[in-house]
């Protein structure tokens, strides 16, 4: 998968990108929350 020999490595490659996207989306959805 993705050219990797081990599916666990393909998974962790994707997880890195997913983790970054989760940070961006969570921050974006809560952009104006928590001001007080």
């Amino acid at each position: 998968m993705l050219g990797m020999a081990d599916p666990w490595i393909a998974l962790v490659w994707i997880l890195n990108i997913v983790a970054m996207i989760v940070c961006v989306v969570y921050g974006g959805l809560n952009w104006n929350k928590g001001g007080d």
Partner: protein
Amino acid sequence: MGGGINIPLLAICLLIFLSIITYLTYLGAQQTKSQEDYMVGGRQIPGWIMALSYAATFISTSAIVGFGGAAGVFGFSLMWLSFLNIFVGIFLAFVFLGGPIRGMSSNLGANTLASFLGARYDSKFITWFTGLMIFIFMPAYTGVVLIGGARFVQESLKVDYNIALLFLVILVGLYVSWGGLRGIMYADAFMCSMMILGMVFLLFKTYAVVGGVVAGHQALTDLASKVPESMAAAGHLGWTSMPAGGSPYWWVVVSTIVMGVGIGVLAQPQLTMRFMTVPNKRALNRALVTGGICIFFFTGTAFMVGPLSNVFFHDTTGQIAIAAAGGNTDLIIPTFINAVMPKAYIYLFMITLIAACLTTVLGLIHVQSIAFSRDMLPEWGVKTAKSPLFYSRIGVLIGAAAAVIMAYILPISIIARATAFWFGICAAGILPALLGAIFWRRVTKQAAVWSVALGFGVSIFGFVFLHASESAPFGISKLLFGRDALLPAPWTLIDPLFYSIVIAAIALIAISYFTPQFSKEHINKCFNGEAEQRSALSKGNIKA
């Protein structure tokens, strides 16, 4: 590095770089009037600046060059570490730890991690003991980061190593004592953006060189037969596979690197104290966007470029990366960059690496200076004739001098283990007490005192007397008992972080059930200080 580099041109680039961070430090200094400004930036730092500062402090030169080179040897399996860095070090830390640490430290008026824990647990011991641990053991870690930066400056600018090291440490000492945390964080934000620029270019160029994502990975997969026999015997199954389960390589990847650095980051005082600098939870939410992107491009890039460099080196020289770098893992990334990147980029990469070193050392020296002026002197009842800012600057001087001394007197075998030691004792000594402080209202003072003392005590004992990687080079066990480690395997192999953090956590939980709880007033002050005052104020407004 340095093939065909125009040294005068690089020096001019560096001068421009230094004048920008000097100006930003000056801006911070203009706004630093009180000890609270110096320690936590007056709690008014915007979220995006906090995130850039957090990310840049998080990542040192060795994280890019050292870990990137290690990934060139071990392969993509190290991406579990960059995943943990993003998910634990940024997402969980900002969402679940940042808010409570910010709110509670503000309620308690605490400006350092140690004084925050001390105020939450109503214990002077926790404040001065944690401050003392930071003050004694941090210089070895600071020394390691400085050595990484100085070696790099020596190589790239062709200046004497001693001059490079002293130049870096004097620069940091001046900036910290002059600009306080505001100055540091403004300068960090600029340096972090330079680092982002450098790493984004590197990542995209690398994938372009190896023929794209899937083709590049496939080419690396096809190289599995090129793994040297000695590495294959230790469990290396190729650069796109996990090491063989239970093999020595598997243990290295899973235990020390992933757990030690992945978990240890949550208890780093120079990082957790940055949550105290923002005005509200909203700033933390916004910081998450910048922080996630930064750490992905810092650690993710290093861990993708390292393995893929094998494809490039094999195609061009017939060798794998570690052979092309002459057997030195630290040279894999610089050799690769010299070979594939345009010349102009090499200047940017040098700025990137110097920024990575400076931002981390600034954060460490700052924490050490406030450990001295806030956590130790006042708690020991030392009569202070001058302002706290004066003693913070004395702390900078001591911290910087100690880091230089460590960089000179520690042998290379100990230097190599200083990071694991520092991350390990912080995780065991601080993390259980910190999590208890912000999530568990029933936790007691006695439990926290024992947890902190046992966490630091057991982990230091483990590193000095049991774990062979540190106990052998430290030599204390050999000196006292005539052998490198007191117990046989597996104790010589298990990172002391594992058992010491478990002991500290059990102590925190078990002792809490046998000792008196805090009063409701104290718990209310810790958890609801601001909310209480606000509701009282709003009631007052209604009456008016």
